[in-house]
């Protein structure tokens, strides 16, 4: 039995298998509409999330399975003080697989230690969000046709942005990757990620404070939101929230085939005028999220067809 807690739990080969299966699902979704008949996914969401939870539920329903779960800690036994370990032991007898989101870092790892069903980390605080990474990789692979030889710009909150950390960890395993890290001083990428992941893998990178000047170099621009819940201090949040905004004028500087990605929800970091630009693929990205979760569920449940 395999869990997915960190994006690095999957080897490049396993990742490729999941992405290939997802692309097959995109081509012929009907072929997979009954492969999880009689299977249940439990969505254990200790903090609110519309997109990720519905995406998991849509994925399981598309495969012919069913869903159960809770969408906030208040509506679960956590409000009575039940531990993650106890909750997962019980849920293991109700469902065949589970997706867990928790505000505390490492909670899904605790669940995996006690679970008898596969556990998928659906986001643990500012730490990991591996299915977002799978979504991002599928988007790049499907729209760019490759995962190597890319200059990828990350913009906004690179300190607390878990999607950024996870995607960097995944991309360093491919050839000819360049990173451009665009953020204010206070939201720069954590030291350990720079030293132990980017530099250790000899990935060329640069850190800049202005988006305009690097726009022409980028194959991918990955935008992020500055999230209030990641700050201890409201003043810092207010000061930094509008740091980088992508608008139509900046898009004029970009390559014709650059992709603008965003894990969503977007607040104001991408002006709505950019939405109609064909290079803006963030809504398409959300759609890919369902396909890749379908492929992941099939893989972890080892159902026929994968």
């Amino acid at each position: 039995m395999k869990h997915l807690i960190s994006p690095l739990d999957l080897s490049v080969t396993e990742l490729d298998e999941i992405l290939t299966l997802a692309e097959e699902i995109i081509e012929e979704p009907k072929k997979y509409s009954n492969v999880c008949n009689g299977k249940k996914i439990a969505t254990l969401f200790y903090e609110p999330s519309t997109r990720t939870r519905l995406s998991f539920e849509a994925a399981m329903l598309n495969l012919g399975g069913s869903v159960l779960g809770f969408s906030s800690a208040d509506s679960s036994s956590a409000s009575k003080g039940e531990s993650v370990a106890d909750t997962i032991r019980v849920i293991s007898s109700y469902a065949d697989i589970c997706a867990m989101r928790h505000p505390k870092e490492g909670a899904p790892q605790v669940a995996a230690n006690y679970s008898s069903i596969p556990v998928i980390n659906a986001g643990d605080g500012g730490h990991n969000h591996p299915t977002q990474t799978l979504t991002d990789l599928l988007t790049i692979k499907n729209l760019k046709g490759r995962l190597d030889t890319l200059t990828v710009g990350f913009c906004g909150d690179l300190k607390f942005g878990r999607t950024v950390h996870s995607l960097i960890n995944a991309l360093v395993r491919y050839e000819n990757i360049n990173f451009v890290l665009i953020s204010p001083e206070e939201l720069k990428i954590p030291d350990y990620l720079r030293k132990e992941v980017i530099e250790e893998n000899h990935i060329p990178y640069k850190e800049v404070k202005v988006l305009d000047q690097v726009m022409p170099e980028l194959d991918i621009l990955y935008m992020t939101r500055v999230q209030k819940e990641r700050f201890f201090n409201e003043e810092d949040y207010i000061r930094l929230k509008d740091s980088f905004i992508l608008d139509g004028k900046k898009m004029e500087l970009a390559k014709e085939d650059m992709l603008v990605m965003h894990p969503l929800p977007r607040v104001n970091e991408i002006a709505t005028e950019v939405d109609k630009d064909k290079r803006a693929v963030y809504f398409k990205q959300a759609e890919y999220g369902v396909y890749v979760r379908m492929a992941l569920i099939m893989k972890l449940l080892e159902v026929a067809g994968c």
């Binding site: 531990s83 505390k104 350990y192």
Partner: protein, 140 residues
């Protein structure tokens, strides 16, 4: 310069990061020992500038490898009959459970007390241990 007498039998824990001696003292539960213990703080060191040293008299039965988890620069000399009998090389264990605690306020271990605090050695050269749950380094 402060002078502390040499040991006939015992161990010298040397090259402790300046200011770290009391942590080692507590971890080894030295307050419960009946023998002489000398704590030397801020001793001059060519290599480190300043360092702490602990000298403990007598034979001790403790897992000294765990000292490397707390501070990987530490060296341990075993003294017998007034001379160094053995310079111990501390082997860093791959995994430690409930020896050190995760200090990350965002870690699940900060709210669920029964979870064993477990760390994995992720960089042998630098002696870096990371929490298996949140991946925060022990020294960060």
């Amino acid at each position: 310069m402060l002078n502390i007498g040499g040991l006939t039998t015992g161990i010298v824990i040397d090259h402790i990061k300046a200011g770290g001696a009391m942590d080692i003292y507590s971890y080894l539960n030295l307050e419960k020992l009946d023998c002489s213990v000398a704590i030397i703080k801020n001793a001059k060191s060519n290599k480190m500038g300043k360092k702490d040293i602990i000298k403990i008299e007598g034979n001790l039965d403790i897992d000294l490898d765990m000292l490397g988890v707390l501070d990987h620069n530490i060296t341990v000399n075993v003294i017998d009959n007034g001379s160094i009998k053995e310079k111990k090389n501390l082997q860093l264990p791959e995994k430690v459970v409930n020896i050190i605690k995760c200090k990350n306020p965002r870690c699940i271990t900060s709210i669920e007390q029964e979870i064993p605090h477990t760390f994995k050695l992720t960089n042998k050269e630098k002696g870096i241990y990371r929490c298996i749950y949140c991946e925060q380094s022990f020294k960060e």
